[in-house]
């Protein structure tokens, strides 16, 4: 039945933990993916920005070179027409800057083979153009303006210039196309980033939902299990109560049995003792008769008769007497125990320290005679229980401690106590001769004793103590080492609770 009841209380915390860990991991994964996506997108963006800047730089460089060439051409024509040296100076400025401008384009477009090829063509055309122009300027400078004009008419500079313009235009168009491509790539990466972000968000939402559902399910299981536990607890209390009253009934039965048995044993014992006394009384006249017969007619007295009257009869009677006396004591002990079990327990607040002092006071002469130092360690927790029972327990334990001393060692007996939650532990410690570990349980049994039998007693005290301890809802045990001493520990409820079946 227990195995059936046990399972409902196991809520698979392991399963819940695992599920939550998986969800958390998924959530983190989604976050990491979103982060990585953001990082990638911003890198893409940076690259794109750099590319756009590059394109504009290239366009700027192209238009700059173009401007220089156009202006160079305009200056040459001006000089040719007017021979004004201002035009020549301007021309020299423009053509000096042209190679650098072309080099700048080459520098910027080195990674693009189309542009490189176009540039190569451009450079060829430009250098030819520059050479042609230089010749025109040289002719004018040397005063052959007519030759220069004639040359200008025949030269193919216009066609060349057109080629150069077209090439520049082509290069610019290429750059714009590149920019458009880059823009498209940028758009795609932004789209990818938003997709990653969306997927991560959906994943997070799903994880959160699943976690929530799991936790709600777990909480529901938990409360259901708690309800079941409460039911079970109530049932358990009932069961415990039933068992306790069963036990109490059994205990009462045993007590009653012990009482009746010991009581009924007394009757025959009275007879045995009574008739033994009668027998003893009857031997006196018999002995006298034998004495007189021996004095008056010795021949009629046989040795057997003399022995019987003077030795066998008194010896037999003596043995019967001691045995019956012992039996009487044992029966009285059982009676006392059973009577103790029937005694009504009256709980009241008591101070064990004060009771220990009272007990010690009642055997003060004994303690002094044997040179025993007795002390009660304070503070001691108080408890609510039966005063008489505690008195009897402490009295038995302390008296035992005074009886079983280690020869040649002054006795030290200490009574101490401590509270542990709803229990109180009372200890009686001595430095006496100790108890063999084999006897630690046995000494609490009725009529059982341990060690040298050099002290009077029937082996009742500790049995009585244990019966009392049980009666008070407590336990007693002993911790002892032969030759070192013993500690008897009484474990009692702080407040006595009736265990009788009647209660």
């Amino acid at each position: 039945m227990l195995s059936k009841v046990r399972n409902p209380f196991i809520i698979s915390e392991g399963r819940l933990g695992r599920a939550l860990v998986v969800f958390m991991a998924l959530g983190f994964l989604a976050l990491v993916a979103a982060g990585a996506g953001a990082g990638w997108a911003s890198r893409q963006n940076e690259a794109h920005t750099a590319a756009v800047a590059h394109t504009y730089q290239v366009e700027l460089a192209i238009s700059n070179a173009r401007r220089l060439i156009e202006q160079g051409e305009a200056s040459r024509r001006g000089y040719l027409l007017t021979a004004n040296p201002d035009y020549r100076d301007a021309y020299h400025r423009w053509s000096a800057a042209t190679p650098a401008a072309l080099a700048r384009i080459a520098d910027l477009t080195r990674d693009n083979p189309d542009q490189v090829a176009a540039l190569k063509l451009l450079q060829r055309e430009v250098s030819a153009l520059l050479a042609q122009r230089a010749r025109t300027i040289g002719l004018i400078d040397s005063g052959h303006a007519d030759t220069a004009t004639t040359l200008f008419r025949t030269e193919a500079s216009v066609r060349r210039l057109t080629t150069i313009r077209d090439t520049f235009e082509r290069m610019a168009v290429t750059e714009r196309r590149l920019l458009a491509q880059r823009d498209a790539a940028q758009q795609a990466s932004v789209r990818a980033f938003y997709i990653i972000l969306g997927v991560a968000a959906v994943l997070l939402a799903l994880v959160a939902l699943a976690s929530l559902l799991t936790i709600i399910g777990y909480t529901r299981d938990l409360s259901r299990s708690r309800d079941r536990l409460r039911d079970f607890n109530e049932r358990l209390e009932e069961t415990v109560h039933e068992r306790t009253s069963d036990l109490s009934r059994a205990n009462e039965e045993i007590q009653r049995f012990a009482y009746i048995v010991s009581h009924d044993l007394r009757s025959p014992l009275v007879n045995v003792m009574g008739f033994t006394a009668e027998l003893a009384a009857a031997t006196t006249p018999l002995a006298e008769l034998v004495d007189r017969a021996e004095a008056e007619a010795p021949q009629i007295v046989s040795d057997e008769a003399r022995l019987a009257v003077r030795e066998d009869l008194p010896e037999a009677i003596g043995f019967i007497r001691t045995s019956t006396q012992k039996m009487d004591r044992l029966i009285n002990a059982i009676l006392k125990l059973s009577r103790e079990g029937r005694r009504v327990i009256t709980p009241e607040p008591i101070d064990p320290a004060a009771i220990a002092d009272t007990v010690a006071g009642s055997i003060r002469h004994l303690l002094d005679d044997r040179g025993i130092s007795f002390s009660v360690r304070r503070p001691m927790p108080s408890l609510v229980t039966d005063r008489v029972a505690i008195e009897q327990i402490l009295s038995n334990l302390i008296e035992n401690a005074t009886k079983y001393l280690e020869p040649g060692r002054p006795g030290v007996i200490t009574v101490s106590g401590e509270a542990k939650r709803d229990r109180v532990l009372l200890s009686v410690t001595d430095n006496g001769r100790g108890i063999d570990p084999r006897d630690h349980q046995r000494i609490f049994d009725l009529f059982r004793r341990s060690g040298r039998q050099d002290q009077p007693g029937e082996g009742i005290g500790l049995a009585h103590v244990r019966a009392l301890a049980y009666r008070l809802g407590g336990t007693i045990d002993v911790d002892s080492e032969p030759g070192r001493g013993s500690t008897f520990r009484l474990n009692l409820p702080k407040t006595y609770v009736s265990q009788d079946s009647a209660a």
Binding site: R266, V270, G274, D328
Partner: protein, 148 residues
């Protein structure tokens, strides 16, 4: 005890040995009255109330009663003797038993027992107690017979 009125002693005691020891010790105290011994309640009641030579129909008596009897409790007999309208209502009853239970003792006195004695287990004390009971019996007054 007023011997000339021949007060009979009725001893209701299931243990033969006890009965014998009681009788011996009563005799030792100098009591010579007739002692009738019964080992069970039924016979004892018959003698007390029915028998021609029993106390109800013939002369005063003194009853020694043990409580532990095989067929009934001694208190039942005590109740019958001391009951309202019983011819033996005034007959002295000495409960002589092994029980020393407080409640039982109270109950016996409530029922009208005159003396309650617990049998000492120790024989010397027992013998002494019975002898003292004998001395006591020798001085107490028993109401005269009221029967026809």
């Amino acid at each position: 005890m007023n011997a000339h009125q021949s007060v009979g002693i009725v001893m209701i005691e299931d243990d033969e040995g006890h009965a014998r020891l009681i009788e011996k010790n009563i005799r030792r105290a100098g009591i010579l009255n007739d002692i009738r011994h019964f080992t069970d309640g039924t016979q004892a009641l018959h003698h007390l109330f029915e028998a021609e030579d029993g106390p109800a129909k013939n002369g005063p008596a003194l009853i020694l009663l043990d409580l532990n009897l095989p067929d009934m409790s001694g208190t039942d007999i005590l109740q019958r003797i001391k009951a309202e309208g019983s011819p033996l209502k005034r007959t002295p009853v000495v409960v002589l038993t092994t029980t020393d239970d407080k409640i039982e003792i109270q109950r016996c006195y409530d029922l009208g027992c005159n003396v309650y004695i617990t049998k000492p287990v120790n024989y010397e004390s027992f013998a002494q107690a019975i002898r003292q009971l004998g001395l006591f019996l020798s001085v107490i007054q028993v109401p005269a017979f009221e029967g026809h």
